[in-house]
Symmetry: C2
Subunit: 266 residues, 2 copies
Amino acid sequence: MKAFIEYIGRELGLADPKTDYPNICAGTDRYAMYKVGPVLSVSHGMGIPSIAIMLHELIKLLYHARCTDVTVVRIGTSGGIGLKPGTVVITKQSVDACFQPRFEQVILGKPVVRSTELDSDLAEELLQCSKNLGDMETVIANTMCTMDFYEGQARLDGAFCSYTEEDKQNYLKEAYAAGVRNIEMESSVFAAMCKLSHLKAAVVCVTLLDRQKGDQLTSSHDVLQDYQQRPQLLVGHFIKRRLNAKNKGFSSSSSSSHGVDKAKTS
Amino acid sequence: MKAFIEYIGRELGLADPKTDYPNICAGTDRYAMYKVGPVLSVSHGMGIPSIAIMLHELIKLLYHARCTDVTVVRIGTSGGIGLKPGTVVITKQSVDACFQPRFEQVILGKPVVRSTELDSDLAEELLQCSKNLGDMETVIANTMCTMDFYEGQARLDGAFCSYTEEDKQNYLKEAYAAGVRNIEMESSVFAAMCKLSHLKAAVVCVTLLDRQKGDQLTSSHDVLQDYQQRPQLLVGHFIKRRLNAKNKGFSSSSSSSHGVDKAKTS
């Protein structure tokens, strides 16, 4: 999060080399938060429950701070299906492990189903941004959001595995047929909570491997580092373009905040 | 985690004031791990998906390290129901938001239900330990494990709330009637994965507030700090007693490892 805010600070010309960015949430170990200009960068830990806690508190914060015209982007890593590793996926729909675009929230012991629809114009704008960044393959596709990294994503290398390589491949093929091109663990509740709050939202995750070819990372440390920078570069470029447009009078909102939720991992 | 391992190091007489404990998992930001003697202390983040990732990797580690006679204890904080804040709850059964002792794991898109049974002898042994620690109220009771901290635990102070104070109180009353005395976010998958791995497991969480009286912490920082120490003190005493018994020949296992999973929060 701090690296991202330092990068954005430099890109926007707001960086002061003499000052360090403090962690605004230093009093808690739930997550870390950094800010430069109108951009917030917040960590969210791993999985739906962890990001949901952060989002409840972030949404309340944005409300009390009277932020308007807010755009929220989750950036992170993911496993790909049928894509070259390093490809960036902008999520069209976040689907569950049965490939349905829904998030089930249990309230007072009863399931409540919520839509995981994301902003299609925002996804398209991000895709356009990627075209300015040269050699960064980027697609708009469905993202599967699971509750578990090992059994939940049909990995064969967890502590338990009750299925075969063939079962795994069949499941990934079904996911591919449903338009899924990457798998991560936070997008569904992120999409659902942003939609409920009328926040424009996008999910931008790089794929670190093709899950049809394996379960573990085989790229070198340097290559993985390069992949992990890609969502940051893309969203950094997007923020810069949006703010430049605003400064030229293309937007009439009175204040603006671009929140970026950054995954530690996925 | 580090504070716990430093405490255990001192308690077991294994601490070397000249050496710092390194984070064994420093190469990842998924979690932190510290070790002293036969005791591991590992963080697990917030929520079921986060602790499940850690447990898959810990269980594989214990297997490859050929550890035997392993006991795993999750220590952390929780919200209480009908208990004086500061009470320590040793989990009898981890139940879901419908008060059922089960954990549903989705595998290849299909739900698989697993038992969340914990070791009753271990729970009883921990309760006995608490009696040696003077003024630390401790009970054995059911723990409700939820997927969400706000709506999932019937809080009224999240970003969204579609129910009334009366609905909340009725839900907490139902939970109480089902034997639930505290609520947290990791115990069900912890119990399920430990049971599948034949690891003896316990959950020891202090209650920071009585949820029937409110949703937010009202105790002072110092009082909360004191509460948060209690699971550590209890489990520290338990580990010391177990290891002393082993050294006196009460146990015949060839090697031993006491893993302690520590919540950042709950």
